[in-house]
Amino acid sequence: MSAPLLSVTGAVKRFGGVQALRGVDFDLKAGEIHALLGENGAGKSTLMNLLSGVYTPDEGEIRIDGKQVHFNNPREAQAAGIATIFQELDLVPSLDVAANLFLGRELMRPGGMLDVPAMRREARQRLEAIELAIDPARLVADLSIGQRQVVAIVKALSYASRVLIMDEPTAALTVSEVERLFAIMRKLAATGVGIVYISHRLEEVPDIADRVTVMRDGRVAGITEPHAPQAELVRLLVGRPLDELYPERAKSAGKTLLSLKNASFRLARESAGWQPPDDISLEVREGEIVGLAGIMGAGRTELLSALYGTGLAGRWQGEVAVDGRPVKLESIHAARKAGIAFVTDDRRGSGLMLRMAVGLNLVMSVIRRISPAGLMSPRRQAEAVRQSFGQFDIRPKNPDIAVGALSGGNQQKVVLAKEILGNPRLLLLDEPTRGVDVGAKGEIYARLRALAAQGLGILVASSEMPELIGLCDRIVVLRQGRNVAEFIGGVDEHTVLAAANGREA
């Protein structure tokens, strides 16, 4: 092979006094899938932005096919063949797939009319080229996140076809969607496209990458084989050996906190691919962390929401008991009264008031407690805030800045700390570490285990199988709205996956 498709040498980038990149070398071969790993702030986003023309490097150079290039804006990078898919997909939900693919470059009939049939025909061909059967006339809003991801890829490739940069493409995908995405990526790579794959998920690396570059503190910490042991990757990522990402399990659990027997509910809103649950039976005991596994549409999120009194139509059927007493969990009020707290999977959309200060967000679920007689007590508020900062290492240690300015991991700590302030007995967690870096993950796991040791019961849904297996005492597998299997923690991943997919192990 001659010169690599894309290479970066000695890249330096400063923002004010902060040095985001301190001399980074990186290269990408044609047909290669190159994973770029790093914790938040390691500099991988900055590097990506240099490659996609959003920033220009202060020092160092970028070469394509050995020839030096300068990008002053993303358009120039696209013209040079580099396409970037950002986490927030640049799609217009209210337009159909074809209209999105041709946005800004619409095909016209003579006379200035849109040639809709031609665009749909062309769109269908491009989608079929990667074996994706999506009707180009469907609205993007009606597609699943995984399908949108693919539409974004097709769109990006129609601008530029040599280098594809993907920023955490799997963050919001389910296991089967990830598999489909990987298949598409391999196919593209086989045609000679070089792919830079940025991710938080270490466990995906061996499945997809040909080579791995790990960044830390604005430098390349190491370049390794994708099949390097996970411990080695973690050591490169955090700069020290991280013996135990997952804390030790509980020795014993207390009395039963939540119990469902042949329970079911109906959803307030119909959702595609969702089957109403019948016959869910499970229990969570004091001091226990119970996991909910299952593929997309298995009903994990719906079950947690319904236990918190939201998203269900009418009443729970069957037996629902907290502390052995039957409860009617038909409203948030009732759930909170029963000592249940809920952390959603969408911290930006429904977990936090992004523009408001960290401190104000923290006390949100205990406003009643800190406002005796209806008047806010600054002293009690400060106490509550101090308690949260004592429990979680939220950075920066400043309750007055807007929570939206924090990193994903720190935002997640705020959401958790907020609910824990309310002293719940049962904590429902939906995807508690989505978009959170490894360091923060370890801290969150340790915290959850410590809280469980004090008697808190935790029911956690996650699409990250290693997380469920590592963190939970027991794992309940949901399939099509019912519990189909149960395993103790530490079980082998394939066994759980098989149960979730309804296959023999």
Binding site: L352, L360, N398
Partner: protein, 350 residues
């Protein structure tokens, strides 16, 4: 003045890291006060003089400014609650008109006493707001649409009650006459210096400031505007809070309508035309975000007075109403641009 930063007990919090203060954020936080000071300085410089005396600073002129803004000011205070929840109330001017008409009618044709009339009108305005808030939350309708309908409804009711006539208020003792004490709303107290309408405005503003900054309800208002779904999940009674803020604008509009009737000694179905827009402008200039979740009462008061002072200077210099509108437009845009810059600086998007 962003409120949330003030109300959190900064001193007691575990702050170790010194954080940089964005000067732009400070400007926006105090934009209406800064604007008020600038307008006042401009007023002094550009004011016409008579016998060497600066007319802008003449006590009579100052009294006129604060009297002229008191009705829209009362409304803007109510509007601040609504806008912090990311809502809007377009019915306020119409409810003012309805309230002025009902006030005049009850006292003149109905023979009701002062207290009964005032209480009835305040209850009417509050109920009007509760109905709008309930329709909006119950049927999940945009408050813009619901209160637009409310505006039409209130104007229609005012026309029905008044028979499309000016209802003049004459004072005296006996049937068909209003109690003379009601006329005090058009007068000044303290050696004929402070207009009574302004006193009503200031007292209302003070109460509203305390409610917004120190009560549980005030915190709920910010929470609902900050992120309604997150507030709901945190156990905030979201619908109750929303209905309450429309009840507050309804109450404020009724109060302004009573003040209006007392100041001008009549009630007309056309009273308060366009006040909703002036009130919204004052709130936005005061630093409250139309996206909800941020805003302050002090800012609204300063914004209200600033708009009044600006209009006053232009009038003193015999500048046409057309120019006044253009000047107001420029200030609204400037305030909005400043807020947008800060949001972008905070990395929170548009």
């Amino acid at each position: 003045m962003s409120d949330q930063k003030i109300s959190v007990a900064v001193s007691a919090a575990p702050t170790t890291a010194k954080h940089r203060v964005d000067p732009l954020a400070i400007i926006v936080r105090f934009q209406s006060l800064i604007g008020l000071v600038l307008v006042a300085i401009g007023g002094v410089i550009f004011s016409p003089r008579r016998h060497g005396e600066i007319l802008f600073l003449d006590p009579d002129n100052i009294a006129n400014i604060v009297r002229a803004v008191s009705e829209t000011g009362i409304i803007a205070i109510g509007m601040t609650f609504v806008i912090i929840t990311a809502g809007i109330d377009l019915s306020v001017g119409a409810v003012l008109g309805l309230s002025a008409v009902v006030t005049a009618t009850m006292m003149i044709s109905g023979g009701f006493g002062l207290i009964a009339t005032i209480l009835a009108v305040l209850v009417m305005g509050t109920v009007f707001g509760i109905v709008q808030g309930t329709i909006s939350t119950r049927f999940r309708l945009e408050p813009f649409i619901v209160t637009l309908a409310g505006l039409q409804a209130a104007r229609g009711l005012a026309l029905v009650v008044s028979g499309n006539q000016y209802i003049n208020i004459s004072y005296g003792d006996g049937p068909g006459l209003a109690p003379p004490v009601f006329a005090v709303l058009g007068e000044r107290l303290f050696d004929n210096t402070v207009p009574v309408a302004t006193i009503v405005f200031i007292i209302f503003a003070a109460i509203a400031t305390v409610v917004l900054n120190t009560t549980r309800f005030g915190r709920y208002v910010y929470a609902v505007g900050g992120n309604e779904r997150a507030a709901r999940i945190s156990g905030v009674p979201v619908s109750m809070v929303k209905i309450s803020v429309y009840a507050i604008t309804g109450f404020a509009s009724a109060l302004a309508g009573i003040v209006h009737a007392g100041q001008f000694n009549f009630g007309s179905a056309n009273d308060g035309m366009g006040y909703e827009l002036t009130a919204i402008a004052a709130v936005v200039i005061g630093g409250t975000s139309l996206f909800g979740g941020a805003g302050s009462m002090v800012g609204t008061v300063a914004g209200t007075i600033m708009l009044g002072a600006l209009a006053n200077i232009l009038q003193l210099n015999n500048i046409t109403p057309a120019m006044q509108l253009l000047a107001t437009a420029a200030i609204i845009v400037l305030a909005a641009v400043l807020q947008s810059l800060v949001r972008r600086r905070e990395g929170l998007g548009r």
